[in-house]
Amino acid sequence: MNNITKNHIKDKLFSATGIFSTLIGLILLAVFIGDIIVEGAGRINWDFITGLPSRKAEKAGIYTAMIGTVWVLVLTTIISFPIGVSAGIYLEEYAKKGRLSRLLEVNISNLAGVPSIIYGLLGLEIFVRILGFGNSLLAGSMTLSLLILPIIIVATRESIKAVPQSIRDASFAMGATKWQTIQYQVLPASFGGILTGIILALSRAVGEAAPLIVVGALAYVPFVPSSPMSEFSVLPIQIFNWISRPQHEFLVNAAAAIIILLIITFIMNGIAMYLRSRWQKKIKW
């Protein structure tokens, strides 16, 4: 066997390795999800979804955790959306190249790398204790908002950057002010991308458990939260709690709740991907 054939075989061999590597993660994920469905699908019924938590596995439901997740989602959106988009606009349209903008940029990419549990410690000290919000939905949502802010800012900047300069020139040349140009031209043209980023960021927030555990979200909340100041639980924490129990019945509950959580996450990701592809197709300058 000469060198050329040997190299040729190596080439083919790597090609196979590449395909295998690409698929192995997805195959494992599929196996896991299959296992979860086998385990938990039978447990999902109306009582499970509308049931309050209980010490008895067969009676326990996810209602309070699900409502908690919805609350967290809404509050986090309300807090993080305006701040994140505003910061992104500032950095892309207003900030002059200089120390401040470099500092802001480095800082944001650093924040993106801070582990989520550290945000939990920040929220625990600032929102729960110093500001006195207690172990409330508000404290939890503010913590998650800070956590996803870098994602929203980066997505906003990317989408704004994609709007060609010629559009801004045309608007300025018509006598529009800077904000008019942003409001009427830049934002409408980049909205699809911004929205995609926000949905992805929120889907990240929906799956977070660690920072909320640290700010004191509870595993057992017998009441549906009624205001931002209520104590709360969310689906991931409910799941974590059930996984930690020794009885197998609770693992079945966990699997069932995971199915619901995965459905929510995948729907959000699906919407984001759909918006992204549609937006990319629509805008061709």
């Binding site: 045309a170 608007s171 040349a173 008019q180 300058w285």
Partner: protein, 283 residues
């Protein structure tokens, strides 16, 4: 029925026009107001680089003035001086005076938005907004705060007729402007500028991205428009400058080498470099 804001804007425009006429008659600004645009001892810098060197120019109202010269000679920079579009470039600095219809436009009192309403601009590549045809033309009025639907509708129709685009698009006013052909897009951009009734229209190589037929239409249009507007055009195309302009100015390495009646420049250039450029020996 015009609403208050619209009326105000119309009034404002009228006052502006009257003032301008007065200025022309009395010359009470202390400068020669026979001219629409005056540039005096103008130097422009981008950081260390000097883009324009001691340029002086007077432009008469209702004429077409063409700026010619090789790439990087400063002609586009000079054009963008008149609506202050260079202001956004890092390190931009200007010395000297520029007057547009009697007002010093680099003074602190000037409002950029008002200046640009008065001095419209058409760009090299057609750059319609990614909105409907209608919204493109209505944009200037909308940002001025005009709410009156009838008024806007009339203005849009008139502007589109001025650029001879009305018949082509009147049934598709609510289609995306990006669906138009390049030549149509450029005419739309001109209509967009006309809709706010400017006095001066700056054109930065408006036909360089277009095919010959579209180019011809735009040139015809420029010829028509000079009855109502003062037009300054930057062009790479020698024949175009000769066809459409009354006055021509030749720039080279940031200096204004020669200016005068187009006929004179083309038939009897005084400067050797102008002659070389026009006859195509460099550029």
């Amino acid at each position: 029925m015009l609403n208050m804001e619209t009326e105000e804007i119309i009034m404002e425009n009228e006052v502006r026009l009257t003032k301008k006429t007065e200025n022309l008659v009395t010359g009470n600004t202390g400068i020669n107001t026979e001219y629409e645009i005056i540039a005096r001892n103008l130097n422009v810098f981008y950081g260390e680089f000097q883009a324009l060197k001691d340029v002086n120019m007077n432009i008469l109202p209702y004429t077409v003035t063409a700026f010619i010269g090789p790439s990087g000679c400063g002609k586009s920079t000079f054009l963008r001086v008149f609506n202050r579009m260079n202001d956004y470039i890092d390190g931009f600095r200007i010395e000297g005076e520029v007057f547009v219809s009697g007002t010093e436009i680099y003074s602190n009192r000037i409002k950029l938005e008002e200046l640009r309403r008065k001095v419209g601009m058409v760009f090299q590549k057609p750059n319609p907004f990614p909105k409907t045809i209608f919204e493109n033309v209505a944009y200037g009025l909308r940002i001025q705060g005009v709410k009156d639907k009838h008024f806007i509708l009339e203005r849009v129709e008139r502007s589109l007729k001025q650029v001879v685009l009305w018949d082509e698009v009147k049934d598709n006013l609510h289609k995306n402007a990006l669906a138009l052909s390049g030549g149509q897009q450029q005419r739309l951009c001109i209509a967009r500028t006309l809709a706010v009734e400017p006095e001066v229209i700056l054109m930065d190589e408006p036909t360089s991205a277009l095919d010959p037929i579209s180019t011809g239409k735009i040139e015809e249009l420029i010829f028509e428009l000079k009855n109502e507007y003062t037009i300054v055009i930057v062009t790479h195309n020698m024949q175009q400058a000769a066809r459409i302009s009354d006055h021509t100015a030749f720039f080279y390495l940031g200096e204004l080498i020669e200016q005068g009646h187009t006929k004179d420049i083309y038939t009897n250039p005084k400067n050797k470099r102008t002659e070389n450029y026009i006859t195509g020996r460099f550029g």
